[in-house]
Symmetry: C2
Subunit: 348 residues, 2 copies
């Protein structure tokens, strides 16, 4: 999205410049007297794990803050909004590095997972922790004198806690060894997605922008709920595209069926399946053999899940739009609509 | 130490009561709508990993605060000092759970390491992260209205960053596969110990007590340095006892030689060894075969490392005492001396 116009290109280039500055500052952090070896390690680890994603979460802090303040940003404002955007990206990198270890994944963002790099291995677990620790280092350097510094720390702490709690729910629900489809129900699905994805991907960037704009987050409970709902919709799309998206377009081949994921599709299928269809699912879901995968996909089609998805998409959109238009502030409405329009009917 | 007198027993019992309360509060944290399954998981995970150590770090917050305020604590003061003590214990639990994964360890505190428990496995990595996330949950609940709340957050963030940085140094220096003794030099050893152990074990508890007593930590750089020096001395003792301590007394059989640890003993041996002795070390250090271990121990004895240690202990003690007595505040001197006397010439 950001790349679609000249403005987007500028934003991305400016955003990436801020990354370089933050990295240099971390490598010279006076709280740790580094050695050449450790400086090189962190330098490489950061480049490998932090800036290689789509950066949508991070850049949306800048976009949101621009809308909220309604004008051009001073270079200082632009810089600070980018710094908070990068904190969101650092948080994401931390979760992904550790998630890949726990899931035994092989690749991420078109390269080996960090822990799979031969000389890294389980040192990656500590690198994940370092990524997390960089956030308060960045915040204390650039925000300690702001009136909202403590609120920023509280915000990142709360969102991290929610994400880690969602990750726990995911891990104990979809626990390897067990393969128990009876746990895959819509309220469980929604709770996992809400905590594991929605808070940090959707609420956190807007909350950062609101704090920078001088707002008190206690007045924005509705905004939080709307963003969490949007995050849930985003994850449902992700699950749908994993099976029905164009691999060339989404840039990877989905493996949710093979991986026994608690995907929106399998939860829907379990709700709608006949007795006979249930036994297909329990036989074939979570097996890597292509014949089993194909049986599941055929079942999804038999159950019309593509249509069910389109209806879900439509009704989510309508519900979100009406919640957004009930917001008292036009600028807040605009922020929320810009998020929604970035993801509505996305194909990747 | 705490168990030696009636007062100590009271402290420990009271301290453990606070643990139960904190656990209940975490299990009902409104920031996460838990399920029965996840509540049970956390309950068990906390009991398994948090309260089973010696609790010296945590209880020393209470002891230090008592000395600083010079009197009996109100029940509210006692409670708050215990809460900060438990935050230190939670931080330690978080580091230990993850360290055991990275080190491939088997047992900890007389039981299986958490990740080695069959139904846990790598979920332990996320549990470690949850332990870490509980600290700001505890702090926001009990300290948000204190004038020093932000300083507390900053303190825990800084000390966690230093510990994770020390862990990184340790991991990249003593990297499995490589087995390169040429990196094991005294400045490297000191840097690892300072960051990985001393800040969180010695500085953090005192800094918590100072904040509670209304002090500004910026005025306590010397105290920080003294505590870091004491933490280094403590780790040297730990390394010495791993080889020369009485296994019955220290409660475990040391394996630093087998594990190719960057121990104070091997660093000393490498400094003092002749050419021939060096080749014994490079042949035998890091091998689990008892004959190799014995060769290393014999070499340590040939190099008189027991005597070198006694001299180190004596000169550390004297240097620490004179630094402590240069402190302007008698109460601060008393806090520091009580730490030092708890560890001086310890046999376990
Ligand atoms: Mg994963
Ligand atoms: Mg996962
Ligand atoms: Mg997916
Ligand atoms: Mg270890
Ligand atoms: Mg270790
Ligand atoms: Mg030891």
């Amino acid at each position: 999205m950001a790349e679609e116009n000249g403005k987007g290109v500028d934003l991305k280039a400016g955003f990436l410049q801020v990354y370089s500055r933050l990295k240099s500052e971390l490598l010279e952090d006076p709280a740790f007297s580094s050695t050449d070896d450790s400086r090189q390690w962190i330098d490489r680890m950061l480049d490998y794990n932090v800036p290689g994603g789509k950066l949508n979460r991070g850049m949306s802090v800048v976009d949101s803050y621009k809308i909220l303040t309604g004008g051009q940003l001073s270079s200082d404002e632009f810089f600070h909004a980018c710094v908070l955007g990068w904190c969101v990206e650092w948080l994401q990198a931390y979760f992904l590095v550790l998630d890949d270890i726990m899931d035994g994944s092989h690749t991420r963002r078109g390269q080996l997972c960090w822990y799979k790099v031969p000389e890294v291995g389980l040192i990656a677990a500590n690198d994940g922790i370092l990524l997390r620790n960089h956030i308060p280092r960045i915040l204390i350097r650039h925000f300690r004198d702001k009136t909202y510094y403590t609120q920023l720390l509280d915000l990142f702490n709360e969102v991290e806690f929610q994400t880690a709690s969602g990750q726990m729910l995911d891990l104990i629900t979809t626990h390897e060894g067990e393969k128990d489809l009876s746990k895959y129900k819509m309220p469980v699905y929604n709770r996992i997605v809400q905590y594991k994805t929605a808070y940090y991907s959707f609420y956190l960037p807007v909350a950062c922008a609101l704090l920078m704009a001088g707002e008190n987050l206690e007045n924005y409970f509705d905004v939080k709920n709307i963003l969490v709902e949007m995050g849930t919709y985003f994850q449902v799309q992700d699950d749908f595209l994993d099976c029905f998206g164009d691999p060339e377009f989404i840039g990877k081949i989905g493996t949710d069926i093979e991986d026994f994921k608690c995907s929106w599709l399998v939860v829907q299928a379990l709700e709608k399946a006949t007795h006979g269809q249930l036994s297909i699912l329990s036989e074939s879901y979570g097996k890597s053999d292509p014949a089993h995968v194909m049986r599941v996909k055929t079942l999804y089609k038999d159950l019309n899940l593509q249509e069910v998805f389109l209806e879900y998409e439509k009704s989510s959109y309508e519900h979100l739009i009406s919640s957004i238009e009930a917001q008292p502030s036009k600028k807040v409405q605009e922020v929320l609509k810009s998020f929604l329009h970035k993801i509505y009917k996305r194909q990747k």
